[in-house]
């Protein structure tokens, strides 16, 4: 008798669950860096389309690439473009769709220096290579006339967790310093020649704040939201540029966009371009496994271009430049 009752309850539950799942649910996974804007987009899209729910797990770009290439999620997301090798190994064809832009900034804690510090690219590389180890080094002073630097050891702080932020920063250092390319190279985690590792943006920022003489790199959004002082970096045109929505957008405008969108925009041409910026991408498997879900993804991508880009600025992400957005629109038409 109890068995019968249990069965009846189970049956009711199944029916209820079935009703709840009548709406379509999409699953995505990947990068943590664009999570704030993605979660806003997905919730706004759900408000506009009540029958569609999009879940996004911010498990990291590496996890996003793995899951989308094995087909366990409907779409992935990454801060760094997939490599040729990864694309070859993938079971499905992957299309990269750039969504927004972000920047990485050098943040510091130098006792007695409250203003902005200017970093020539090679100086920044040499600090992280441990070739410059004191704030009173001539190379730093030469770029910052009028600033009095203390006799204080530089303590380098880097991310300890694998991260797209590290990828963008080391990608930049590899482009501006042959030594860096040889010693460490670029990656989501590298062999740091010097320094302490902090976990996440909050760990790095916490250590910078607590340690006199510290320098580290964090995402622009994080520095802005938490009022952490950060410096300007010399770009390829010889200008010292501070990261801002405008200078990040300028970085994207100076680069020729390839058809597969896999492009690094660190150290780009352009007078007003901030040199440590990057796109972040959604990874769309092609062709869609499930036609209905595919239709929704296509619709969402168009919605994101029309309505979503406007929301980026309020969360300190730079929207796509117009010509890139137009190009993406064409690509979306070709999705099937």
């Amino acid at each position: 008798m109890t068995l019968q009752r249990t069965l009846r309850v189970l049956f009711c539950l199944t029916v209820l669950a079935g009703m709840a799942f009548a709406q379509t649910t999409l699953n995505g996974a990947g990068a943590t860096f664009p999570y704030p804007i993605y979660s806003k987009w997905f919730s706004e899209y759900h408000k506009a389309h009540g029958d569609v729910e999009i879940n996004y797990q911010s498990i990291g770009s590496g996890g996003g690439i793995r899951q989308v290439t094995t087909g366990t999620v409907d779409f992935g997301a990454s801060d760094g473009p997939m490599t040729d090798e990864q694309l070859q190994q993938s079971k499905v064809k992957i299309v990269h769709i750039p969504t927004v832009l972000g920047a990485v900034v050098p943040a510091y804690n130098v006792p007695g220096v409250s203003g902005e510090i200017k970093f020539p690219a090679d100086v920044l590389a040499n600090i992280f290579l441990n070739k410059i180890s004191n704030w009173n080094d001539k190379a730093i002073a030469a770029a910052n006339p009028g600033v009095k630097f203390p006799d204080q050891n530089i303590i380098v702080i880097h991310r300890s967790d694998g991260s797209g932020t590290t990828y963008i920063f080391t990608d930049f250092l590899s482009k501006v310093s042959p030594d860096w390319l040889q010693v460490a190279g670029k990656g989501t985690a590298v062999k740091w020649p010097v320094g302490l590792g902090g976990k996440g943006n909050e760990g790095v920022a916490g250590m910078i704040r607590q340690t006199p003489g510290a320098i580290g790199y964090i995402e622009l959004i994080y520095a802005l939201q938490n009022n952490i002082p950060y410096g300007s970096v010399k770009n390829s045109s010889g200008q010292f540029i501070k990261a801002s929505l405008e200078s990040v957008t300028a970085a994207a405008q100076g680069v020729k966009m390839p058809n597969d969108y896999r492009v690094s925009i660190t150290n780009p041409p352009g007078k007003t371009a901030y040199p440590i910026s990057s796109f972040t991408w959604l990874l769309i498997p092609q062709p869609y496994k499930d036609g209905a879900k595919g239709k929704i993804i296509t619709d969402f991508l168009n919605w994101e271009l029309d309505n979503g880009q406007g929301m980026a600025g309020s969360l300190s992400y730079a929207p796509l430049p117009k010509e890139v957005a137009d190009k993406v629109r064409q690509t979306i038409k070709g999705l099937k």
Partner: protein, 354 residues
């Protein structure tokens, strides 16, 4: 089944079926009245009892064996998923000290070293403190203070480790950097264990935060063990003219030492596997340094840090093999701890187990 066929609305009528089929009708029908249907089904038939018994024994056996199954499955998966690095580096993986994901060179030694050193450091700090807390609360604490102290100790255990980590970055590390490390360098610098620039962040900070996290475990186990020591042990030692310290040493601690070692092992287990708080303050640098001021790295930390972004197969395989190394180290440490307990128990009178 036979028992349930007895009409329950007329229990006074002697049910002939029961009388004939049941082999051991010990309880008389009159007395069954008091138990009703429940009593009858409980003592249904011996065949039923035997089946139920066997099912029960089987179920328990399966639960016990499942532990073996789970451990072997974990080991199998770890070996399976780390095939790539096992082949490429062999045993050199465990003694190599280079960790370069970009170049594809992987060695686990700095992580093994960091895990063991930070855990031992934590034990050195935590064991005397926890035993002190336990002795104080059971032997010499005024009644009014006992509950608040025990409550506080247990409260420490309930704090999430990420909170410990953040607290360590913002409070502990500056404290160590500005006061403790300069003093240690001045007084004990000659040992070589306390030299180099005082960052605050590093192996020492990791050891201290781990110590704080395992104190509640060791202290509460030790307290329970001390409470279990019979009162007449204490009275006996005191009656022989011992001082209070002698009484606690010979009458209480000596008798409770096995239990205390058990508590220490529990704490050690926590320290070996703790991830979040350690990651936030250890400095995450895969290097073996003699100085405790220098940054280090642990096995649990590197897995937590790098797993989510490890996109190429060799890298992933290396991280899984770190998990295998952690598994092996934990097993060795546990075996050593068992040996320790065994060597203490050997030749001890039976009362020690009380």
């Amino acid at each position: 089944m036979a028992a349930s066929e007895v009409p329950s609305n007329s229990p006074a009528v002697k049910p002939p079926k029961v009388a004939t089929t049941v082999e051991i009708p010990k309880p008389k029908p009159e007395s069954l009245k008091d138990f009703g249907v429940l009593g009858q089904s409980r003592f249904g038939s011996s065949a039923g009892v035997r089946v139920a018994d066997n099912i029960f024994r089987g179920a328990m056996l399966v639960s016990a064996l499942s532990i073996f199954g789970i451990v072997l499955l974990v080991l199998w998966e770890l070996i399976q998923k780390s095939q790539m690095t096992l082949h490429q580096f062999g045993w050199k993986f465990f003694i190599g000290s280079d960790w370069d994901p970009v170049a594809g060179n992987f060695g686990a030694l700095p992580f093994i070293y960091g895990t063991i050193v930070s855990s031992i450091l934590a034990l050195i700090i935590a064991v005397p403190l926890s035993v002190g807390v336990a002795v104080f609360t059971t032997e010499m604490c005024p009644k009014a203070l006992r509950t608040p102290i025990s409550f506080m100790v247990e409260l420490l255990a309930a704090i999430p480790s990420v909170i410990y980590g953040l607290w360590a970055i913002f409070v502990l590390a500056p404290l160590l950097r500005n006061y403790v490390q300069p003093w240690l360098a001045k007084t004990l610098g000659w040992t070589g264990l306390f030299s180099g620039p005082p960052y605050g962040i590093g192996m020492l900070a990791a050891g201290v935060i781990l110590a704080i996290m395992i104190i509640p475990i060791i202290a509460s186990v030790t307290r329970e063990v001390l409470i279990a020591v019979p009162q007449n042990q204490r009275e006996g030692v005191l009656a022989l003219g011992a001082t209070r310290w002698e009484m606690i040493r010979t009458g209480v601690l000596r008798n409770a030492r096995i239990g205390i070692v058990g508590g220490v092992i529990l704490g050690l287990g926590r320290a070996l596997g703790e991830t979040m708080a350690v990651t936030m303050v250890i400095g995450n640098r895969p290097e073996i340094a003699k100085s405790l001021f220098a940054p280090g790295y642990t096995m649990a930390s590197v897995i937590a840090n790098e797993f989510s972004e490890a996109s190429d197969d060799l890298y992933l395989s290396a991280l899984v093999e770190i998990g295998l190394a952690l598994f092996i180290v934990t097993m060795i440490v546990n075996a050593l701890a068992r040996l320790l307990v065994w060597s203490i128990t050997r030749g001890t009178p039976a009362r020690a187990h009380a």
